[in-house]
C-alpha cells in the first residue's frame, strides 16, 4: 500500500501511535480481551472500564460466534453463554460506540468471518465485509481480528475494504507457518500482526518454548515489517517482560476470564494492573 494515500485516520492512527509510544518507552504493551456480553453486557462495561483505567494499551472485544474454532474451552464457553443470553452483533457495535467515546484506549473487534460476512444494517439487504467495516469503524474500532480468514481468500477485498473504512486488518499467524504465507500476510496486513506463541487453541497453560518463539518472532518482523503482538498461554508479568526486544505487545485473554470467574472483579483489576506493570 502506498503510505501517503493510506495514512490511517482517527482510531486507526491512534493504534499506530500506541506502537510508536511503546517503541519510544521501550516497553512491551498489553492488549487485554473480553467476550462481549459475558457474563453480561453490564459486566463487559465494568471490564472495559477497569482495563482502560489500568493502563492497558489495546482492548480486544470478541463478538461471540456460535462456532469459534480457534478458541479453547474458556472463551468458547463464554461465547455460548453470551449468545444464550441473546447478545446480538448490533449490541456489540453499540457497546463499542459507547466505550470508544468514553476512553482513549483503542479497541479492536475480534470475531469469526461468518459474523462479518453476514452483517447488515437494519433494513438494508446488502450483507458483508463493507457493511461490517463501515459499522465497526463507525463504532470507533481501530481494527478487526478475524482468525479464520486467511490472506488468500481475500473475500470482498477484505483488507482494502477495512483500510478504506479506517480499520486495520489484523492477521493472526503461528510458528508453524512458512515464509511464503507470512509474506502473503505482509501484503494484506496493517497495524500489527497477531502471533500465537504456539499451535493449539486459546486458553491452556503451556510452557512457551521461548527460543523457538524468538526465532519465529524474528521471522515475523523481518517478513511482515509490522509490530508483532504475541498471544496464547500468556498469563504472567514475567512472560510479558521476557518478550522485551522480541515483540511489541502481549495479549492476555482466557486467563482474565478465568480470574474473573474464580475471583471476581476487584481481583481482576489487581491482575490487570500487575500484568500492565503498574506499581502504584
Amino acid at each position: 500500500m502506498s503510505p501517503e494515500a493510506d495514512r490511517p485516520q482517527g482510531r486507526a492512527a491512534a493504534l499506530v501511535e500506541v506502537f510508536a509510544r511503546l517503541r519510544k518507552d521501550s516497553r512491551v504493551g498489553l492488549m487485554t480481551h473480553i467476550v462481549f456480553g459475558y457474563p453480561t453486557v453490564e459486566a463487559s462495561r465494568h471490564l472495559v472500564d477497569i482495563m482502560a483505567r489500568s493502563g492497558v494499551d489495546l482492548i480486544e472485544v470478541q463478538l461471540p460466534f456460535s462456532d469459534p474454532t480457534a478458541d479453547g474451552p474458556t472463551i468458547t464457553h463464554a461465547c455460548q453463554k453470551a449468545l444464550d443470553r441473546g447478545v446480538r452483533v448490533a449490541d456489540g457495535l453499540a457497546f463499542a460506540r459507547e466505550v470508544t467515546k468514553k476512553y482513549a484506549v483503542p479497541i479492536l473487534f475480534m470475531s469469526y468471518f461468518n459474523v462479518v460476512f453476514n452483517y447488515h444494517e437494519k433494513g438494508e439487504a446488502r450483507r458483508g465485509v463493507a457493511a461490517f467495516a463501515k459499522a465497526a469503524a463507525g463504532a470507533g474500532a481501530a481494527g478487526l481480528i478475524i482468525p479464520d480468514l486467511p490472506p488468500e481468500e481475500d473475500q470482498e477485498r477484505y483488507p482494502e475494504t477495512c483500510r478504506e473504512h479506517g480499520l486495520h486488518p489484523i492477521y493472526v499467524t503461528s510458528p508453524n507457518v512458512n515464509d511464503r504465507r507470512l509474506e502473503a500476510i505482509a501484503k494484506a496486513a496493517s497495524g500489527f500482526v497477531y502471533a500465537t506463541s504456539r499451535t493449539g487453541t486459546t486458553g491452556r497453560e503451556v510452557q512457551i518454548a521461548m527460543e523457538e518463539l524468538g526465532r519465529f518472532l524474528d521471522r515475523a518482523h523481518r517478513l511482515c515489517k509490522l509490530p508483532v503482538a504475541v498471544g496464547f498461554s500468556i498469563s504472567k508479568r514475567e512472560q510479558i517482560e521476557a518478550l522485551s526486544g522480541k515483540a511489541e505487545m502481549a495479549v492476555v485473554g482466557s486467563h482474565l476470564i478465568q480470574v474473573y470467574e474464580k475471583l471476581g472483579l476487584s481481583a481482576l483489576e489487581r491482575e490487570i494492573r500487575t500484568l500492565a506493570g503498574r506499581k502504584d
Binding site: 460466534f65 456460535s66 462456532d67 469459534p68 474454532t69 480457534a70 479453547g72 474451552p73 468458547t76 464457553h77 455460548q80 449468545l83 446480538r88 452483533v89 468471518f113 461468518n114 459474523v115 460476512f117 453476514n118 452483517y119 482468525p147 479464520d148 480468514l149 486467511p150 488468500e152 481468500e153 473475500q155 492477521y171 493472526v172 499467524t173 503461528s174 508453524n176 507457518v177 512458512n178 504465507r181 500476510i185 500465537t196 499451535t199 493449539g200 487453541t201
Partner: protein, 441 residues
C-alpha cells in the same frame, strides 16, 4: 444442462465405459474446475481456517494429489474396498416396490451392505490408507450419528493407528450402541459438551484437537465438506459408488438412469453417486434434505429451505443460521442428516441447476422405511430412507420405461431405538425396561 427430466420416450444413448484407471471425481464441468487449485467450486468451498492449520492442509493437499495419481495407491485401495469391505455393492432392481408404486423402474444401490453398514467406509479406507502413506501416527474424527466414527474406528484398528472420535454429548446419548462399538474397536470417544452438543460441535472439537497435534495427527473428516482438500478428496473416494452404478446399469439395462436420488447431509453419499453422471445432462440428479418435523427454524436440516450463504468450519456454502450468522439448531429423525451446512460442490451444482434439491419430512421417512421393509425385505437407514421417501413421490409421476436409481447409503440396524420409539412399539419398550432392570438374562 438444467437437470430437467428427459422428455418421455426419448431414450438416453448407451453410455461408453469410463476411461480405464480413472479413479477420481469429475475435474471440470462447463469449463469450471471442480475445484480450482485453492478448493473453490465457483464461489463455494475454499479454505477458511486459522493460519496454524494452513501448513497441515497444504501438506494434506499435496500428499493427496500425489498419492491418488499413483496406480499402486489405487490398486491398494481397490483391494481394500473389495476384500475388507464389499465392493462392488449390488445394484438391485426393486421389482416389488416398482410394481407397488406404479411408475419408473426403481434400482437400489446397496451401500449398506459394505463394512460397517454404510458408505462411510469408502472414504475412511481411502483416508486411512493416505494417512499411513503420509506417516501419520494418529487418527481423529468427528461423528454425528456415529456411523463415520464407527467407520473411522474400524479403519484405525485395521491400520494399527490410535484413534480419537469426537461426538456431541447429545449424540452420544442418542447413539449409545455406536459408542459401545467404537470403544470395542479401540477408539477413545470424547464427549463434546460445547454449543448444541451435536455434529457441528464435534467438528469444531476435532479441528481444535488437530490444532494442538497438527504435526503427527491425521484429521479424518467424514463428509464432502470442510476446508480444501476435504470436499474434493471425500468426493473422489466416494465416486466409486456412481462408477459402479453406471457399469451395473449398463449391464442390466444397457443404458444410463433417467434419475438418481440420494439423501444429503454433508453430501458424501450424494456427491459419490452423482459425480459419475454430472457430465450426462440427460440424467436428472436429486438431493433429498432432512425436512424434519416442519420447515420452521430449528425443526429441520434442509439448508436450501431457509439457509443462507455463509463461511463456517472452514468452507463457504449454505448454512442454517440466524440473522447475525450464528449457526442454528437443526433437527432430523436421522442423526446423519442433522447438520447445518452442506458440501460446497453440491451448493455450486444447485446454482448450476444440475442438482435439484427437495426435502422429506420425518413422517414421510418412517413411512418410507416401513414400505421398503415390507416390499423388499430391506431395512434402510433413516438417512437413506429420505431418498426412498422422495422416490415414493417421484417414481409414480414417471412412465414405466424410465429408470430411477436410489442410493441406499446405509442399513437401518443402528436405528432400532429411534424407530421403535417413533413407531411406539410397546414390546420393544417393555424389553428395554426389563433388560435395564436385570429381568432378562
Amino acid at each position: 444442462m438444467n437437470g430437467k427430466k428427459a422428455k418421455s420416450g426419448q431414450r438416453p444413448p448407451v453410455p461408453k465405459s469410463p476411461p480405464a484407471g480413472k479413479f477420481w471425481g469429475l475435474e471440470e464441468l462447463d469449463g469450471v474446475p471442480l475445484p480450482d487449485e485453492r478448493g473453490h467450486f465457483g464461489i463455494y468451498g475454499g479454505r477458511y481456517v486459522p493460519e496454524m492449520l494452513a501448513p497441515a492442509l497444504e501438506e494434506l493437499t499435496e500428499s493427496y494429489f500425489r498419492w491418488r495419481a499413483r496406480p499402486e495407491f489405487q490398486r491398494e485401495l481397490e483391494k481394500l474396498w473389495e476384500t475388507y469391505s464389499c465392493r462392488p455393492t449390488p445394484l438391485y432392481f426393486a421389482e416389488n416396490l416398482t410394481r407397488h408404486l406404479g411408475g419408473a423402474k426403481i434400482y437400489l444401490k446397496q451401500e449398506g451392505l459394505g463394512a460397517t453398514g454404510a458408505h462411510k467406509i469408502n472414504h475412511c479406507l481411502g483416508q486411512a490408507l493416505l494417512a499411513s502413506k503420509m506417516g501419520k501416527k494418529r487418527l481423529i474424527c468427528e461423528t454425528g450419528a456415529g456411523q463415520h466414527g464407527l467407520a473411522t474406528a474400524t479403519v484405525a484398528a485395521r491400520f494399527g493407528l490410535p484413534c480419537t472420535v469426537y461426538m456431541g454429548a447429545v449424540d452420544m446419548r442418542r447413539q449409545a450402541t455406536n459408542v459401545f462399538w467404537m470403544r470395542q474397536l479401540g477408539a477413545t470417544v470424547v464427549s463434546v459438551e460445547e454449543g448444541t452438543r451435536t455434529l457441528k460441535d464435534a467438528v469444531n472439537a476435532a479441528m481444535k484437537d488437530w490444532m494442538w497435534n497438527v504435526a503427527e495427527t491425521y484429521f479424518l473428516l467424514g463428509s464432502a465438506l470442510g476446508p480444501h482438500p476435504y470436499p474434493a478428496m471425500v468426493r473422489d473416494f466416494q465416486s466409486v459408488v456412481g462408477r459402479e452404478v453406471r457399469a451395473q446399469l449398463e449391464k442390466a439395462e444397457g443404458r444410463l438412469p433417467d434419475a438418481v436420488i440420494a439423501c444429503v447431509g454433508g453430501g458424501s453419499n450424494s456427491i459419490g453417486i452423482f459425480n459419475e453422471f454430472l457430465a450426462e445432462p440427460q440424467v436428472e440428479l436429486v438431493g433429498v434434505e432432512a425436512g424434519g418435523r416442519s420447515l420452521k427454524p430449528g425443526e429441520h436440516a434442509a439448508r436450501f429451505e431457509g439457509g443462507r450463504l455463509g463461511v463456517v468450519e472452514g468452507y463457504k456454502s449454505y448454512f442454517l443460521q440466524d440473522d447475525d450468522g450464528q449457526i442454528q439448531k437443526t433437527h432430523s429423525i436421522s442423526a446423519g442428516l442433522d447438520y447445518a451446512g452442506i458440501g460446497p460442490q453440491l451448493a455450486w451444482l444447485r446454482d448450476q441447476g444440475r442438482v435439484r434439491f427437495v426435502s422429506a419430512s420425518d413422517h414421510e421417512v418412517i413411512a418410507a422405511f416401513q414400505l421398503l421393509a415390507r416390499q423388499e425385505g430391506i431395512l434402510s437407514a433413516l438417512e437413506a430412507s429420505h431418498a426412498i421417501a422422495y422416490a415414493m413421490r417421484y417414481a409414480p409421476e414417471l412412465p414405466a420405461d424410465k429408470i430411477v436409481v436410489v442410493n441406499l447409503s446405509g442399513r437401518g440396524d443402528k436405528d432400532i431405538f429411534i424407530l421403535a420409539e417413533a413407531l411406539k412399539d410397546p414390546d420393544w419398550k417393555a424389553y428395554c425396561k426389563d433388560y435395564a432392570e436385570g429381568k432378562i438374562r
